[in-house]
């Protein structure tokens, strides 16, 4: 082949030149894209986000501007709880013997901060490694991936948790939280961290529990301080920091405590009381776990399937006037109930303020504050199985007994004798049998659990929390 045949013509040269320019343009575009995508990544120290949605709600409710209050509250919270990189416990918790075991300060520090690990494979920064992508740095349920979750990730700051063994309105036990972390929630974005039950990772689990409780206490205090700012302090005439408002008219920042020592001491005492109250609810949650009465015919169930009569009675209750489960869960639990309600976290800044959750325009101030678009909360289709709070009989018993906090699922009034005002424990068990009978797979799981000697003995002894924790594996 001769050289001349392949010699570039002027047309080829123009074409090549054009290609060179195009290639350069592509390279520049790519480089620009890289810079654009990577820009904004190197942010400064991580800080807890203020609860701007709650502040916006209070502003609307009490017609009082709270921007300055938000700033004051953050200053107080940083003084008490530290930062995401350097958390600390308020003295009220750290020095109170009755609250001493609630949060371990060393584990708390290990769970916080940036992700890292040591020679032995022990990780630090556990919360950011496992949780913050959905639950957010502040535990506000607004992590980067939150918008894609249904339901949205839990906002710890309200201090309300769905799946627990304690009564409606009470805090969950550590075992309840551990159960959710270890076994996850079926059909949601909450993963199962099963590795954490292994001995070498048990401390990681405890650290995460400490951090979740810490965020919840911090967040609940923030709400109380904001509420106080809206109702008991005068921020209406305050246009911001360094305004003309008297120190006694607003929350005093720790940095200003010298100029108003007496008022600050009074404020500190009040805040300590609030912290103590919240922390005590957490510390005493274990005491509120009820004893689950043994399942009727428990011995018989070990060798035979669920008595059909119990299922039939449960079905009657399900569709009857007292339990009236079908009004939400639909006939035979197939869903399609008439109600399309919302969770309490959404109602707080919508229906409670007289705003329609579907009216995006009127909710704009809340979206600007960071609220996620409201999502209706249809009642569960029980025929799907895979109950989020667990599919063991004991767990379903507790769901029926206590309801699900933060949702329209109500608690049952437990009565001694059959009456029109509530259900007896036997009737709740019949409902459990019926609910489990709606799904074949869960029926098998239920029998497996019932045959488990450890679970059976624990039920007999009334060690409910332990059963909940162990039987979660059957989900």
């Amino acid at each position: 082949m001769s050289r001349s045949r392949n010699a570039p013509t002027s047309r080829d040269a123009v074409r090549c030149l054009s290609l060179h320019r195009s290639t350069s343009a592509c390279a520049l575009l790519l480089l620009g894209g890289c810079v654009l995508l990577l820009s904004g990544c190197g942010r400064g120290p991580v800080a807890f986000e203020p609860n701007a949605v709650f502040a916006a709600q209070l502003e609307q409710e009490f017609d009082q501007p709270l921007a300055a209050a938000e700033s004051d509250v953050q200053a107080i919270l940083v003084d008490l709880f530290g930062t995401p990189d350097a958390p600390r416990l308020p003295a009220t918790i750290a020095e109170d013997p009755s609250l001493a075991g609630l949060i371990d300060p060393e584990r708390l520090v290990r769970a916080a901060g940036a992700v890292s690990s040591d020679r032995d494979g022990a990780h630090v920064g556990l919360y950011r490694e496992h949780c913050s992508a959905c639950h957010g740095i502040s535990g506000d349920g607004r992590g980067p991936a939150a918008l894609f979750q249904n339901p949205y990730p839990r906002d710890y700051r309200a201090g309300v948790f769905k799946y627990k063994s304690t009564p409606r309105g009470a805090k969950p036990t550590r075992e309840d939280l551990a159960d959710t972390i270890v076994h996850g929630l079926p059909g949601t974005g909450m993963p199962a961290f099963e590795l954490l039950v292994e001995d070498e990772h048990r401390d990681d689990l405890e650290g995460l529990l400490d951090y979740v409780v810490y965020l919840s206490i911090r967040g609940e205090l923030e709400r109380r301080l904001l509420l106080a700012a809206a109702t008991e302090f005068d921020y209406a005439s305050d246009s911001g920091e360094g305004s003309s408002a008297e120190l006694g008219d607003r929350l005093i920042r720790p940095a200003d405590h010298d100029s108003a020592a007496a008022a600050y001491a009074e404020q500190a005492e009040w805040i300590a009381g609030e912290i103590r109250e919240i922390a005590t609810e957490w510390a005493t949650a274990d005491e509120q776990v009820p004893t689950i009465p043994p399942q009727p015919d428990a011995e018989e169930r070990l060798t035979r399937s669920t008595p059909p009569k119990s299922i039939a009675l449960g079905r009657e209750l399900f569709h009857g006037q007292i339990a009236n489960c079908s009004s939400c869960h639909g006939v035979d639990g197939a869903g399609g109930g008439p109600l399309a309600d919302y969770d309490d976290w959404t109602k707080e800044w919508t229906t409670q303020l007289g705003l329609d959750p579907r009216d995006r325009e009127k909710l704009e101030p809340f979206f600007d504050a960071g609220a996620l678009p409201p999502r209706p909360l249809p009642a569960r289709r029980l025929t799907l199985g895979g109950f989020r709070g667990g599919s063991s009989p004991e767990e379903i018993y507790l769901r029926i007994l206590h309801g699900i906090d933060g949702t329209p699922m109500p608690a049952i009034n437990l009565v001694e004798e059959e009456s029109a005002t509530g259900l007896t424990s036997t009737q709740i068990w019949q409902l459990v049998d019926y609910v489990l009978s709606l799904d074949d797979r869960d029926d098998v799981a239920r029998d497996d659990v019932a045959r488990d000697d450890g679970a059976r003995d624990a039920v007999a002894r009334g060690e409910v929390a332990a059963v909940v924790f162990e039987s979660g594996a059957k989900r």
Partner: protein, 364 residues
């Protein structure tokens, strides 16, 4: 050597190029580099998946040891985090040493100066990538980890480029020889085959855009994988939407390219073109799976029992392989599209395989 010079050299063979023969040793070294860098990306991906980037907190040493003298027993019997992080460093070092050797081979045997320059650029890139990985550890910066993760596939593409331009095919086409199929006598010269085997400006652009889009996808994916806890949900959703939309465009372009080049008789073009379709299909499957194992099913959990019962397993073995596989196949897609682009570009410059028979190029 700037990209203009490199491209100019690839398009306009010099007298030196035409009068000399290619170095097979250099090509073998380049192929070996490619074969080592892909597992390196896999292991690097695993390091991120298991959050093991800081399992060895010092650099360039390993817990005070010279990296190469770290007790092998401690390494192999230690925690998994240490195993993959130290393993990643050792393999990266091997790649670095091989790159040095490749440059020496190029200097000694390669007649084309621009290829020596390209090999030197590869060495600079591997050093930069190593330093970046080291800084990620020393400064404990996750942003640097993301940058390190984004540059790894670029280095992979660079090694692929080196392997392509040192290949015999590249040389043969430069000399106007027919492609593989034609050389075996399977190619019939006719009007239809001319259209089938021609490569026009449109195809060069299409494959080039495909390579750029694949890399853009990798950047977007890195934003999702290394998501900052302070990123807003809206910002994250925009990245997800763009990633998904770009995946659709990549799929369309790769199918169009694959169908068109898949009919070409030159196996050097048709095979990778068809392979691209398969890789894109695999990558889309892995992408969807990655979402599911990270965040669950995006819909259907209130409708279908299998979705309602699905529980995400955090850092499960299969889940980790899916997520890391998505990263690794993404890199492979970039490398394949770059390889195809270079070949298409070469074929565009030097005409279709029928050019030996004096038939004019038909533009597409």
């Amino acid at each position: 050597m700037g990209i203009e010079q490199i491209m100019s050299a690839t398009l306009s063979p010099t007298d030196r190029e035409l009068s000399s023969t290619p170095s097979q040793w250099l090509h073998r070294c380049a192929v070996l580099l490619v074969c080592l860098v892909w597992p390196l990306i896999w292991i690097g991906g695993l390091v991120t998946t298991y959050d093991a980037g800081m399992a060895v907190p010092d650099w360039p040493g390993t817990y005070g040891y010279n990296m190469f003298l770290y007790p092998i027993g401690t390494w192999l019997s230690g925690p998994f985090d240490l195993f993959i992080e130290h393993g990643h460093r050792l393999l990266a070092s091997l790649v670095g040493l091989l790159t040095i050797y490749t440059l020496l081979v190029a200097i000694r045997t390669e007649p084309r100066r621009w290829i020596i320059g390209l090999t030197a650029a590869t060495l600079v890139a591997v050093i930069a990538q190593g330093v970046l990985g080291g800084l990620r550890v020393v400064l404990d910066q996750r942003t640097l980890a993301m940058l390190h993760g984004c540059l790894g596939p670029a280095f992979f593409a660079l090694c692929t480029t080196l392997a392509v331009v040192t290949s015999r095919w590249w040389w043969r086409v430069g000399e106007g020889e027919p492609g593989e199929a034609a050389a075996r006598g399977r190619n019939s010269v006719g009007r239809n085959s001319v259209g089938r085997n021609s490569v026009g400006r449109g195809m060069v652009w299409a494959v080039g855009v495909l390579a750029v889009l694949c890399y853009l996808q990798l950047l977007l994916g890195a934003q999702l994988r290394h998501v900052q806890a302070t990123t807003s949900p809206v910002g994250f959703s925009h990245i997800v939407t763009t990633h998904v939309a770009t995946a659709g465009i990549v799929a369309l372009v790769s199918v169009a390219v694959g169908v068109r080049l898949g009919r070409c008789d030159d196996l050097a073009l048709s095979r990778p073109a068809r392979g691209l379709i398969g890789l894109v299909a695999l990558q889309i499957g892995l992408g969807l799976s990655t979402w599911v194992v990270n965040y669950g099913f995006p819909f259907g959990s209130d409708r279908w029992p299998w979705a309602a019962r699905y529980v995400i397993q955090s850092k499960g073995f299969a889940e980790s392989l899916i997520v890391t596989g998505h990263v690794a196949i993404g890199s492979l897609l970039i490398a394949c599209s770059v390889m195809l682009w270079l070949r298409v570009l070469r074929r565009f410059r030097h005409g279709p395989i029928e050019s030996a028979a004096g038939i004019k190029r038909v533009m597409i």
